[in-house]
Symmetry: C2
Subunit: 288 residues, 2 copies
């Protein structure tokens, strides 16, 4: 049991990508007493991150991270693997790399062959705002933080990441990248397309009077059900690109359930419809 | 312009059904100085309504309403027509009847042949609680109140209802029962089945580890999108029963839009997916 000592020491921690997640992580790591090195593509973001106290030092060059003991990759998902490819020429082989991408299989598959001390991760925190201006303290408290090690991931790298994650107040989960991606396809990515289809269907009403009335009458039911389907388009496309197969599987299962509801209503099978809605009412609290 | 005078006078107003809507209406009408007569099937509800000051007088017998100038039918939707059939033997032909049902075509079709002075209505207010205990003051302020007169509805009956609706702070809309039902099928009833299918699909995940992870990871996106699909089963079945055809039409259009999204993702048509999500993002605020 020597590992806990390693991270009780103050570490040099790198953050590559100073947006909502990277910036918020900086706040919390600095408040733990770690020395935080931040890298952003933009000079203005580096300046801002230092001003607000999210990092100790910031620069646009990856070489700033050469002395970091662990580096968090906090870029948009499509840049994670390309940035790691660039980063590894600047750091010693002992440096631990972890990422915060919301899809894990393609990231782990892309980085594992390049870097032994890599541990995939996914802090499930955030809000609709983006960028360093949205960064906040304690963003990760009581939120799930999923760690997706591979079979050959060094255990000391996992332990160090775990200790840091625990120190920022998150609830740690472990699973394979594939199981992570299938789980988030159900509760995070499927809802986006389900909700997007609802907005698109309403927009297709061709009777202008009905369309106007629908807009006037829409209330909390529509507001809640349509929210994630009308969010940031880039985020929606990214999750579909990077978690495509799991999302397609979820969508086909969803379509099957939708068809079942349509057929119950067409057949006026109110007894079965009642049963299904009762099951939903009983089961949903398990997800909250 | 004599009509406004009629309703500046204090009226005797009947409320049949003392639940959330009926009880709340009683509060606001009493505070306008009207004399409110309430009828409920249950003695205990009558007692409670008087105790809290929602009505001036209450009874379980319909004969209490014989002196009312206008009666609001606030029962569950399936009881509206049967209750009106019983009520009309107790009231003079001059009494105005209106209802608060959330579907209008079957109600208007059922009552119009029985009663000349009938005006269909739908106050779009409420919350997830039910019963007289959930009744509250000012529930209808700034909320839509849809009035669905037929071609032969007497104009003085419409005017009196309008004045009352205006006095409780609602925003008045007029449309045909059919257009009302098609509009609410988009923004109120379709979201229930869309959301219910989401919950049902997640419950069908057969890998127990993934199912458990999905429950642990579910956050605000799942919470909002699944809310109306796991609400009161009786309300869900009633809206499907009474607005069946409009809901089926909306569901078929929805399935068409869903299939389009699935095919964009299967074909990796990220450009079109981006366009559709951008359109959603731009258009949704019109519904809020």
């Amino acid at each position: 049991m020597i590992q806990p000592l390693i991270v009780k020491d103050k570490m040099k921690i790198g953050i590559l990508g100073l947006g909502l997640i990277g910036g918020s992580l900086g706040f919390d790591l600095k408040s733990q007493g770690h020395y935080v090195l931040g890298v952003s593509r933009r000079e203005s973001t580096c300046k801002k991150a230092m001003e607000i106290g999210s990092v100790d030092q910031a620069a646009t060059e990856l070489s700033l991270l050469s002395t970091a003991e662990i580096v968090f990759i906090c870029t948009p998902i499509g840049l994670i693997v390309p940035q790691v490819e660039k980063l590894i020429s600047h750091i010693p082989k002992t440096t631990i790399i972890t990422d915060v991408g919301s899809v894990k299989t393609p990231i782990v598959q892309g980085i594992s062959p390049l870097w032994k001390n890599f541990v995939g991760g996914h802090p499930m925190a955030g809000n609709t705002d983006v960028g360093i201006d949205a960064a906040q303290r304690n963003l990760f408290v009581d939120r799930p933080y999923v760690i997706t090690p591979a079979d050959n991931t060094p255990s000391h790298a996992i332990k160090i990441l775990e200790e840091i994650v625990r120190s920022i107040g998150s609830i740690i989960y472990h699973c394979s990248p594939e199981k992570h991606d299938r789980a988030v396809s159900w509760i995070s990515h499927l809802p986006v397309i389900v909700s997007a289809s609802l907005v698109a269907a309403c927009l297709d009403e061709s009777d202008t009077e009905i369309f106007q009335l629908a807009q006037n009458f829409a209330s909390s039911g529509f507001r809640d059900t349509s929210r994630v389907g009308a969010g940031n388009p880039e985020l929606g496309v990214m999750m579909a690109q990077y978690n495509r197969q799991a999302l397609i599987n979820s969508l086909h299962q969803y379509r099957h359930n939708l068809d079942h509801f349509i057929s119950l209503i067409e057949q006026e099978n109110w007894e079965m419809l009642t049963e299904q809605l009762k099951l939903n009412q009983q089961s949903r609290p398990r997800f909250l």
